[in-house]
């Protein structure tokens, strides 16, 4: 297919020269049916315009670095095949709901602060000595939180969430899903440390269940479910204070 070509319209923004982002069009060869949007960006960077800036790393849907808006939908560009768009042009924009640093690169500081605030690690009241052996879990206990542990922090869910777009104080989908992952872990004892962040007015209660976060998740995580379940749990903890899990 030497003559097959595809048009990529990519957002360009140079903070030193541009007042606002603009679209730039690139027509590139579509030489392989397995080409993904990230391949197209890499082709542009290598052969057409070396100044195009974007994040990427693993190219395998694991690192979560290459999330962008592809024709208006948040996607991992390493998992968005050009054959699904050709012969129509493909519009590649930075993730919605985040400030733009340059071209397709967004400022993810806000998400990183939120992620840290929910303490996404196992918290123990008192560490067991190494000699006491490992923390054993049954398959059923792992199943309780397994799907939430699949989150790769790609932030597609934040780009899909209009609640976060309208109010960036909202804790958001991925941070809540990860908080739920640890709260459901039988080895964890940090629920009460995460509760003030989760139950805050800008925490789970800000969510009005649009549900798009779960639709766009490339790893099949259901953050909307995590948020609604956390709402129920925080309510039950309020109503039944003696029924709480330590």
């Amino acid at each position: 297919m030497p003559d097959k070509r595809i048009t990529i319209n990519a957002t360009r923004y140079d903070p030193e020269h541009d007042e606002q982002p603009r679209l730039q069009s690139y027509e590139i060869p579509f030489y392989d049916e397995s080409m993904v949007v990230l391949d197209a960006l890499n082709y542009i960077k290598s052969h057409v315009d070396g100044s195009l800036s974007y994040r990427w790393s693993c190219r395998m849907g694991i690192c979560g670095s290459c999330g962008m808006m592809v024709n208006g939908t948040p996607k991992l560009t390493c998992n968005a095949f050009l054959r699904d768009y050709w012969p129509r042009p493909v519009m590649v924009q930075p993730l919605n709901n985040f400030p733009i640093i340059r071209d397709l690169v967004i400022d993810m500081d806000d998400f990183m602060h939120k992620l840290k605030s929910i303490k996404p690690w196992i918290i123990r009241k008192q560490e067991m000595p190494l000699g006491a052996g490992e923390h054993r879990q049954t398959n059923e206990q792992i199943d309780d939180f397994r799907q939430f542990s699949e989150c790769i922090n790609c932030m597609l869910c934040y780009a899909a969430c209009p609640v976060y777009g309208l109010n960036n104080e909202f804790l958001g989908p991925a941070a809540t899903a990860l908080a739920r992952r640890y709260n459901l872990d039988s080895r964890d004892q940090g629920v009460k440390q995460r509760l003030p962040v989760l139950a805050d007015s800008e925490g789970v209660w800000e969510c009005s269940f649009v549900g798009e976060c779960s639709v766009v998740c490339p790893k099949g995580v259901d953050p909307a479910k995590a948020i609604q379940q956390t709402k129920l749990d925080t309510t039950m903890r309020f109503v039944l204070p003696y029924g709480t899990r330590e």
Binding site: Y13, P15, E16, Q20, P21, G72, N96, N97, F98, P99, I100, I101, R102, D107, E140, D143, P162, G165, L166, N168, S208, F209, V210, G211, E212, V215, D222, A224, K225, Q228, Q229, K231, L232
Partner: protein, 134 residues
């Protein structure tokens, strides 16, 4: 952030939510419809409070609103109410989570049980309304 840090920090282009964001996806549009069905529902319930107040003053003072416009409005509100209830109960599988005999109850079963309880409750209330109205 100090003044020096602020000067050296890169200038970012802030995100601005477009006013028409809810028209950009079918999913967003139906979400907004779902949320706004609550507005006429609330208006209808406010009117119900007025009717209850009137009924409290005795049969002589009670004159229920029975104009054609109000009947049409009530039918529309009923449809909104059914839509709102349907979407809410459909989401129950995501909200409720519990185990039976150490096994998690499936989301589908939870949703079905919600609809079944809805049907039973509607039947019981309907029966009493008909029975009391005879």
């Amino acid at each position: 952030m100090s003044a020096t840090e602020a000067q050296s920090a890169p200038r970012v282009y802030p995100w601005r939510m477009p006013v028409n964001w809810w028209t950009r996806s079918r999913h967003y549009f139906w979400y907004i419809v779902r949320e706004f069905t609550a507005v006429p529902l609330a208006l209808w319930l406010l009117w119900l409070l007025v009717e209850i107040r009137r009924a409290g003053d005795g049969p002589a003072h009670y004159a229920p609103h029975s104009s054609l416009a109000f009947v049409v409005f009530s039918v529309i509100v009923l449809l909104f109410s059914l839509y709102h209830s349907f979407t809410f109960l459909s989401l129950a599988g995501s909200i409720l989570h519990f185990k039976l005999m150490d096994r998690p109850v499936s989301s589908n079963l939870i949703v079905l049980s919600q609809f079944a309880m809805w049907a039973v409750a509607s039947g019981v209330i309907g029966f009493f309304l008909v029975w009391l109205g005879r």
